[in-house]
């Protein structure tokens, strides 16, 4: 019978094709954090996040913004000398945080993700204007005005959609999704 998993193993369980716990092969060399284009904006560098995961500092890991700042550029993954798929680890922590609802309210990332996902589920395609409110609330008035100005400019150039597009077989599409996530009314 399996021993109760550590937090590090919990995260490793969320990874694709993880054999054993790839996080444990981290040698804390800092290549990921040296490479990361967003590192200076993160509470903790990616290397430290992995160190914290391996030290099972669950609360500290979930409290930091590092993984929501990951831009999925995969540069750390490409360079990691231990071949850890660090970007994938960031996805895993994001999922963990969404599933356990542990992210802090002032983060835009999770809400944005949820809205985005809902848009797709409802229409089959993404639609920019629906997304705007999810991040607008976090902005100052200046940013909102800038964003609105940009939207107008785009619209004038014919680059902003007015109506959401939907895929044709939307019903089948929704049923398809329910076979993967069995939530909802069903036929």
């Amino acid at each position: 019978m399996a021993a109760k998993p550590t937090f590090s193993q919990e995260i490793s369980n969320l990874l694709y094709a993880s054999k054993g716990n790839p996080l444990k092969t981290c040698i804390q060399c800092g290549t990921c954090s040296g490479t990361c284009p967003v590192a200076e904006f993160m509470d903790q560098t990616p290397r430290r996040l992995i160190g914290m995961i391996n030290a099972n500092l669950k609360e500290d890991v979930l409290a930091c913004n590092t993984y929501w700042f990951c831009a999925s550029c995969y540069h750390c993954t490409a360079r990691c000398p231990s071949k850890i798929d660090i970007a994938e680890v960031m996805y895993a922590v994001k999922r963990y945080s969404i599933w356990h609802k542990t992210y802090s309210e002032d983060l835009v990332g999770p809400t944005f993700s949820e809205t985005f996902v809902r848009t797709i589920v409802n229409s089959g395609r993404s639609f920019e204007p629906v997304l705007a409110p999810t991040y607008m609330f976090s902005m100052g008035i200046k940013e909102v005005l800038q964003e609105a100005y940009m939207g107008t400019q785009m619209m004038l150039k014919g680059r902003m959609p007015v109506l959401p597009t939907k895929i044709k077989r939307l019903d089948n599409f929704k049923e398809m999704i329910r076979r993967i996530i069995p939530v909802g009314g069903g036929k």
Partner: protein, 674 residues
Amino acid sequence: MSEKNYPEGGERVGVYICHCGTNIAKVVDVEDVATWAGEQPNVAVSREYKFMCSSLGQDLIEEDIKEKGLTKIVVASCSPHMHEKTFRTACERGGLNPFMFEMANIREHDSWTTDDEVAATLKAKALTNAAIERVVHHQPLEQLPVEINPNTLVVGGGIAGISAALELADGGHHVYLVEREPSIGGHMAQLDKTFPTLDCSACILTPKMVDVDQHPNITLLTWSAVEKVDGYLGNFTINVRKKARYVNEEHCTGCGICIEKCPFKVVDDIFEAGLGERKVIYRPFPQAVPKYPVIDKENCAYFLRGKCKACQIFCPTEPNSIDFEQEDEILTFDVGNIILATGFDLFDVKQIPQYGYGRLANVFTSLEFERMVNAAGPTDGKIVLRDMESSPKSVAIVHCVGSRDENYHSYCSKVCCMYSLKFAHLVHERIPDADVYNCYIDMRTPGKGYEEFYNRLLEEETHFIRGKVAEVTDAARTPEEEGKLIVQVEDTLIGRQRRVPVDMVILSPAMEAKPDSKEVSQLFKMGCDFDGFFVERHPKLDPVATMTEGVYIAGACQGPKDVPDSVAQGAATAARVAGLINLGTVMMEPVRATISQDDCSGCKICNNMCPYNAIIFHEDRKVSEVITALCQGCGTCVAACPSGVISGAHFTNDQLFSQIEGILWDVRPEKVPA
């Protein structure tokens, strides 16, 4: 233990199951195996014991043979590699021929490979049973004495090969030292200072090179390569290609006028690491041994266009030493032992483009820097940027380039930390106001005086940044970064990404195996590992021997190592070889093929297949015969003989088929245990 009476005159096998402490016993139920073995046909005694290899364990065998009249012995324990000799000797002391013994490996082949106790015990029974069934068919054999040729071949004239050659030669033994390059000296000859004592590399190396040159017991063959190796321990025949130098060594005085007068220069990619030039007729460096220059045929105007001959025209010797007609020579000689000291290459840093080598002018490799700081190098020891003029005000040294990295080499290259520290010191020494950064993952300084050297660098105020460098770029983001190389790295001790603007970056690449190490290992019929390094016989207890008898390895061809370690290994191989030479003869396994002279059809198929040329054909009788002294018992002829009339001693059909039957006992219905 189990014991039973057994008919007079039949085989009486003794079986001994070893616990090997817990190595075997923690997974294999040794009592069960011993009891079970005791019930097998022909088995007279079956015991289990904690350590069969101990004196007491061996005594068990010896006493049982004497008291219980055992005729054959089986020990189920570790690899025959470890202890076959031990137990054969015990048999001999008990009064049996040592070949009346068979060993079953229930450790490496069983208990170490699984945690499944049931499966492991079953397999232990199968392996033991195979040995029991085989040993019944064993015949007494006598070992064959083989004479050791007292001459030795050393391949590679770096510091490891030089050390080996000198040790043997000083001991009165003849050595052929073969070196691919025009001079011996290897990588050590390229260095200026050696860590941690900072003594001048040339000052300690050249006396050794001179010794080699002048030693009456050393035949030095530079600009040469081994092409063919035949034979076996004690009796190797070597073919060496001595490439044409186009300089007659008998006449040349090494005056160097030809070099001076040669009008053509090329970039020296080898000795000067591409940083300096050399003439087309050249000596790699002033202290080169031998002193004779060599003509670089590919770049020589005479060879290319049939014109020039300046070297010949100005050569003052009589007769003239320049010989454009010279051809490669093939030399053949016999040796008893071979020492390989073929050295290493440096990892090609261009494989990591984010470090900018080749794109960013002022990114240097460690070897380029070594040449630069060398007083005899292209800049006369001045540390300068690629423009060969301006001196850097700040230098970053990048550790672990291509090492400790699963994408390139997973091993630690061992010497880079120390030489990177040495570089930092040399920069401090020559440009006192320069800032020097060492970017490292872990500082590894295990060696006598090495940690003290690190401490010294700390006192010299080198900036140490613990972090593997992510990239080196020239894309400036701030005015301070303009015109600089920016080293982007996480300072992991602070937990912050840093961008360090510097004038010069030195990459410390991993030591790696020579690109042709695989071919070389095949030439000498020994093994090389996944990384291309030669494999030692035992990583701890036999680090300089190989699995091939009579072939030894020394220096960085076995794995990354520094000068003292290479010297020690060179000396160690010499000691091993000298021991054999002093012995004069060694006993060889009597595993030999014999051809039944009555049944041979004379088809000659075996003659051509024998890799040791050990089979001759008697034209008069039209039959083939194995020359026992040459046969190595490889079994090729046994398998190839279409009439099935060649048999290999100790590997007879009876023995092998019984062993197979034995291992498959549990699938033979009549033998399934209850």
